[in-house]
C-alpha cells in the first residue's frame, strides 16, 4: 500500500518536474512546479513527517509560488520563445550540475549513508506530530524560538525604517 502510494507520488513529482522545464509558457511552468511541490509534500507524509508536509504546502505552494507567479505577471514574462537560452551556457551548465548531483546521490547511496546520528530502529509512535514539535519548541528550543521573534521584530523595524515614505 505504502509502496504503491510512494511510486504514484514520485511519478507525479517527476512528471511535473519534467513539465516545468519543457513548458514554453512560464506561467504553466510555475503551475507545474506547484504540482511538483505538492507531490513532494506527499512524500513527506509517507515519511511520517506530517508537520513538515503541511508547512511545506503552506510555505512553498502557498507563499513562495504565489510570489513567483506575481513576479512573472508583474514583469510580463508570459511568452518565452521556445529554445532560447536566457543565460549564457545555460543548457550545458544545467546538464553538468544535474550529472554532478546524480553522482553525489550515487556516492551517498553506495556509502550507505555513513552519517552519524541517523535514527535506527522503528520511529517513536508520535513521530512527526505537531504535538511533539510544539512540545520541543516550548522546552528544548524555547530560547531559539523566542529569539526568533526578536529577529523578526528587527526585520519588521527595518522594513519600516527603510521603506517608509518620509513625512
Amino acid at each position: 500500500m505504502a509502496a504503491v502510494a510512494f511510486y504514484l507520488v514520485s511519478a507525479v513529482a517527476i512528471a511535473c518536474a519534467a513539465l516545468v522545464i519543457f513548458q514554453p509558457n512560464v506561467v504553466y511552468s510555475a503551475l507545474f512546479l506547484i504540482g511538483t511541490l505538492l507531490a513532494l509534500a506527499g512524500l513527506f507524509l509517507l515519511l511520517n513527517a506530517q508537520f513538515i508536509a503541511i508547512v511545506h504546502i503552506i510555505v512553498y505552494v502557498g507563499a513562495i509560488m504565489v510570489l513567483f507567479l506575481f513576479v512573472i505577471m508583474l514583469l510580463d514574462l508570459g511568452r518565452d520563445p521556445a529554445g532560447t537560452e536566457q543565460l549564457p551556457y545555460q543548457r550545458g551548465l544545467g546538464i553538468g550540475l544535474g550529472v554532478l548531483f546524480l553522482a553525489e546521490l550515487a556516492l551517498m547511496v553506495s556509502f550507505g549513508g555513513g552519517l552519524a546520528g541517523a535514527p535506527e530502529g522503528p520511529l517513536p509512535a508520535a513521530f512527526g506530530y505537531t504535538e511533539v514539535l510544539g512540545r520541543m519548541l516550548f522546552t528544548t528550543y524555547l530560547f531559539p524560538f523566542e529569539a526568533t521573534s526578536i529577529l523578526l521584530f528587527v526585520a519588521a523595524i527595518g522594513a519600516v525604517v527603510l521603506g517608509k515614505r518620509r513625512g
Binding site: T139, P144, A147
Partner: protein, 485 residues
C-alpha cells in the same frame, strides 16, 4: 521532558533581557510621546546599558548551561557581554549630537543598536549552533538597517545594500556549514560536536571538514579577514560614522566571540586540520590590511583597512590555540573596543551640519585649533599602532608572545613586521594634525558634552589598560579557567 528540565534562568540571560526591554521602551516612548529632538532616547539607551552592565557584573563567576543547553553562562561569555555593552554605551554617547546633525536622530536608531547588542550577546552565550546563528542574524540584520538609515545619502543606501547582499551570502555559507556539521556529527550542541569530532569515521570526515570550512567562511566574513574582507572599506565608508564605529568594534568582537568558541574550544580536536588554514588567513589579513591602508586618503577607509589588519592580529592568537592565546584574544578585543571607538569618535565630532571631515589632509592644523581633540586622536593612533605605554602595545605583546609560545615564531615575526608597516599610516595622521598647514578652515562641530564624555572614557581606558593591564589580563585568563561544557 518537562519544563524544569531545561533549566530556565532569567538571570543568566539578564543582560540580554534588559537590553531587549530597553529597546522596546525606546520605541514606545517615541511612539507615545513624540518630540522633535530625541537625545532623551539616547539617555534611556545609556541607562539601559548601564543596568545591563550591572547585571553582567553579577554574572561573573557563574557557570552553567541554561535553556536546554542553548545558552551558556560562563566567564567567557560574561567577559564578551561586558565588551559589547561598553561598546554600545560609548557608541550611544558619541551618537548624541551626531545623529541630529546627520538627520538620523530616530528612535529606531537606538533600538537597533540595542537589538544588535542582543544579537552579539546571543553569539557569545550560544552553546548551540542554532543560538549562534540566530545571534549572528539578529546582529547582521540590525547592522544592515543601521548602515542604510541615512536614507537621504546615496552612499549610505549603497553601503547597506552591499553589506546586505554579501552578508546574506556569507550567512548562507555559514548555515550550510552548520547543516553539514550537523550531518557529520549528529548534533548542533557544541559539546556533543566536540565529542563526535573525536570519533568521526572516515566516511563522515570530508563532510565535517567541508562543514567546518563553510563555517570558517561565515565567521571570516563577519570579522573581516582577507579574503572575505572586500565589503569592509565600502561599507565602513558609506555607513554613518557612528554606525561604522559600532560595527567595527561590536560586530568584530561578537564574531570572534563565536569564532573562538566554535573553533578554538569546540573544534579543538580538529585543530590539526584548521590551524594551517588560520595561519594563512592571519598572514593574508595582516599583510593585505596594512599594505592597503597605506594608500588611503579617507580616514574612514584607512580605519576600515586598519580594522581588517587588527582582525589578522586576533587570528594570530587563535592560531596559537593555547590558553594564553585565547585570553589574549579577549584582552585584545577589549582594548580594541576602546581605541577604535575613540578613533572613530574623533572623526565623528569633526564636521558641520550634514557634512563630515573625512579626508586625512583636512585634519591639518587640528593640533592648534583643537589641541585636546588632536591629542586624543594621537593617543588612539599610537594605541592602534601598538606604541607603549598605550593599551594597544600590551594587547599586541600578549598576542605575539602567545604565538611564540605556541611555536609559531614565523607568524609572530610576520605580525610584528606588519604592525611596523601600520606605524607609518597611523603616524601620518598625527603628522598631518600637528605639522601640516591647513588649506582651509576645518569645520568643528558644536561641542557635545556626551560625546566628550565618551571620548574621555575611551582615552582614559586606552591609557589605563596600557599602564595597569594586570587586573584585566587576570580577568581575561580567568574567563577560561573552566570554559564549561
Amino acid at each position: 521532558m518537562n519544563v524544569a528540565a531545561i533549566n530556565i534562568s532569567l538571570g543568566g540571560i539578564g543582560p540580554l533581557l534588559i537590553l531587549s526591554a530597553t529597546a522596546l521602551v525606546v520605541l514606545a516612548i517615541d511612539c507615545f510621546w513624540p518630540s522633535e529632538r530625541r537625545s532623551h532616547l539616547a539617555y534611556v539607551t545609556v541607562a539601559g546599558c548601564l543596568v545591563a552592565l550591572g547585571a553582567t557584573w553579577r554574572l561573573w563567576g557563574a557557570q552553567e548551561a541554561v535553556f536546554g543547553r542553548m545558552i551558556i553562562v560562563d566567564n567567557y561569555s560574561t567577559f564578551f557581554t561586558g565588551i559589547f555593552i561598553v561598546g554600545t554605551t560609548i557608541t550611544t554617547l558619541l551618537s548624541i549630537g551626531y545623529t541630529s546633525r546627520m538627520g538620523i536622530d530616530r528612535a529606531e536608531y537606538y533600538a537597533l543598536l540595542l537589538f544588535a547588542t542582543v544579537g552579539m550577546i546571543m553569539m557569545a552565550q550560544g552553546l548551540n549552533l542554532i543560538t549562534i546563528f540566530l545571534g549572528l542574524e539578529t546582529l547582521s540584520i540590525s547592522l544592515y538597517i543601521l548602515a542604510g538609515i541615512q536614507r537621504q545619502r546615496a552612499a549610505s543606501i549603497e553601503a547597506s545594500l552591499k553589506y546586505f547582499l554579501l552578508g546574506a551570502f556569507s550567512s548562507a555559507f555559514f548555515l550550510y556549514g552548520v547543516a553539514l556539521t550537523y550531518g557529520a556529527t549528529g548534533s548542533l550542541d557544541l559539546e556533543h560536536i566536540t565529542r563526535a569530532v573525536g570519533e568521526t569515521t572516515f566516511a563522515s570526515k570530508p563532510l565535517l571538514l567541508i562543514g567546518v570550512g563553510l563555517m570558517l567562511i561565515g565567521f571570516g566574513f563577519k570579522v573581516a579577514t582577507v579574503p572575505f574582507h572586500v565589503w569592509t572599506p565600502d561599507v565602513y565608508e558609506g555607513a554613518p560614522t557612528s554606525v561604522t564605529a559600532f560595527m567595527s568594534v561590536g560586530a568584530k568582537a561578537a564574531g570572534f566571540g563565536a569564532f573562538v568558541r566554535v573553533f578554538s574550544i569546540s573544534l579543538q580536536p580538529l585543530s590539526p586540520d584548521w590551524t594551517h588554514l588560520l595561519w594563512l588567513l592571519a598572514v593574508a589579513t595582516m599583510v593585505v590590511g596594512n599594505v592597503m591602508a597605506i594608500a588611503q586618503t579617507n580616514i574612514k577607509r584607512l580605519l576600515a583597512y586598519s580594522s581588517i589588519a587588527h582582525a589578522g592580529y586576533v587570528v594570530v592568537a587563535m592560531v596559537a590555540a593555547s590558553a594564553l592565546g585565547t585570553s589574549s584574544v579577549l584582552f585584545y578585543l577589549l582594548v580594541y573596543t576602546f581605541m577604535n571607538l575613540g578613533a572613530f569618535g574623533v572623526v565623528l565630532v569633526l564636521g558641520r551640519q550634514d557634512e563630515e571631515v573625512l579626508a586625512i589632509d583636512d585634519f591639518a592644523g587640528l593640533g592648534r585649533r583643537a589641541p585636546a581633540l588632536a591629542a586624543a586622536m594621537a593617543l588612539f593612533m599610537f594605541a592602534l599602532a601598538g606604541i607603549p605605554p598605550t593599551a594597544g602595545f600590551v594587547g599586541k605583546f600578549y598576542i605575539f608572545s602567545a604565538a611564540v609560545q605556541g611555536g609559531f615564531v614565523g607568524l609572530a615575526v610576520i605580525g610584528v613586521l606588519a604592525s611596523l608597516v601600520s606605524v607609518y599610516y597611523y603616524f601620518r595622521v598625527v603628522v598631518v594634525m600637528y605639522f601640516m598647514e591647513p588649506a582651509g578652515e576645518i569645520p568643528l562641530a558644536p561641542r557635545s558634552a556626551p560625546a566628550t564624555v565618551a571620548l574621555v572614557i575611551a582615552a582614559a581606558a586606552t591609557l589605563a589598560l596600557g599602564l595597569f593591564p594586570s587586573p584585566f589580563i587576570t580577568a581575561a585568563s580567568r574567563s577560561l579557567v573552566a570554559v564549561l561544557f
